[in-house]
């Protein structure tokens, strides 16, 4: 087994196992801890796939931000330990059956689908991402991501982006395509974050507790 396969299986088994542990555990704090390891495993998978910037963003935003938020939510809404919130055995059974069927269906479909299409065009742009094993110091993802989020995209020399389709004589086709940058979604996401920040601060402002415990 190659080293890539070994690391992949280690990370994949950790991630999947901890995700299942999130579902199974009854204690909400332990569920948060298993979610921490799941998100860390996903970040590891991102690094294995060569997406170093996305992996570091996953750790910083998800693990270091969102999950801390969830843990604070858990602590602020803590219940007395004698109140257990458990679903009945019948619900568990039905959910597990449906979940099992769904996972089987998804696995079957994705292993039976042909993911590699017709032979790729030899002039297709080389993958600019970095797979594990090549030099992470020379990876271009940060530069490319930064430029594309500013709307700047580097193109093929003749101005088009080749796609791997061929005409009737098996000649590779090139389809001219307008370069799409991501400046507008970037700005929209920034405005969205400001709106969400203000809204969350307003919704969660300190107020007197008015309710009585529900039976």
């Amino acid at each position: 087994m190659s080293a890539e396969a070994l690391f992949f299986w280690l990370l994949a088994v950790t991630t999947m196992g901890c995700a299942i542990a999130v579902v199974v555990t009854q204690n909400i704090v332990r569920a948060a801890v298993w979610l921490l390891f799941t998100l860390g495993g996903v970040a590891g998978l991102f690094f294995l796939l060569g997406a170093d910037f996305v992996g570091a963003t996953q750790i910083m935003v998800y693990v270091g931000g969102t999950l801390v938020l969830i843990v604070f939510g858990v602590m602020l809404t803590a219940q007395s330990p004698f109140v257990t919130m458990r679903a009945g055995a019948g619900e568990w059974g039905l959910t597990l059956v449906v979940g099992g069927v769904l996972v089987g269906l998804l696995a079957g479909v994705l292993f039976l689908s042909p993911w590699t299409g017709p032979q790729s065009d030899s002039a297709a742009p080389q993958s600019r991402s970095v797979a594990l094993g090549s030099d992470p110091a020379r990876s271009q993802t940060v530069r490319d991501l930064g430029l594309v989020l500013l709307g700047i995209r580097e193109v093929h020399p003749n101005g088009s982006i080749p796609v791997p389709i061929r005409d009737a004589d098996n000649n590779p086709q090139s389809v001219p395509r307008r370069e799409i940058g991501y400046l507008l979604p970037f700005e929209l996401a920034s405005v969205h974050l400001v709106v969400v920040l203000v809204a969350a601060a307003y919704l969660a402002r300190a107020r007197r507790r008015t309710g009585s415990p529900s039976s």
Partner: protein, 103 residues
């Protein structure tokens, strides 16, 4: 054994189903939120796997993954604000107690 895109998609599928089951079965509202995070991470794994294994999709996959991470963080913030409000009003986070609009 070469790791192909199917293996990463399998991890994504398992995470997705775990997230859906978590959303369905947990009675704690924050547990439901954890399920949502699992689903979003599954989608991210799929995006980045496609980015790696398809040379045309390199930047798109990673950009979509970045936007998903950012928007999921925003959504988690709002969801927690809602849960805190619910807790202030009902003194519990049991989703079965949210039946004021029932009937």
């Amino acid at each position: 054994m070469t790791i192909a895109v199917e293996h990463y998609l399998l991890v994504g599928a398992v995470l997705f189903v775990a997230g859906v089951v978590c959303m369905a079965i947990k009675r704690n509202a924050i547990g439901v939120l954890m399920g949502v995070e699992l689903v979003l991470n599954a989608a991210n794994i799929n995006f980045v796997a496609f980015a790696r294994y398809n040379p045309l999709f390199v930047l798109e996959g990673q950009v979509m993954a970045l936007f998903t991470i950012v928007l999921a963080a925003a959504e988690a913030a709002i969801a927690l604000a809602i849960v805190l409000n619910f807790y202030n009003n009902h003194l519990t986070v049991d989703v079965d107690a949210a039946e004021d609009l029932k009937g």
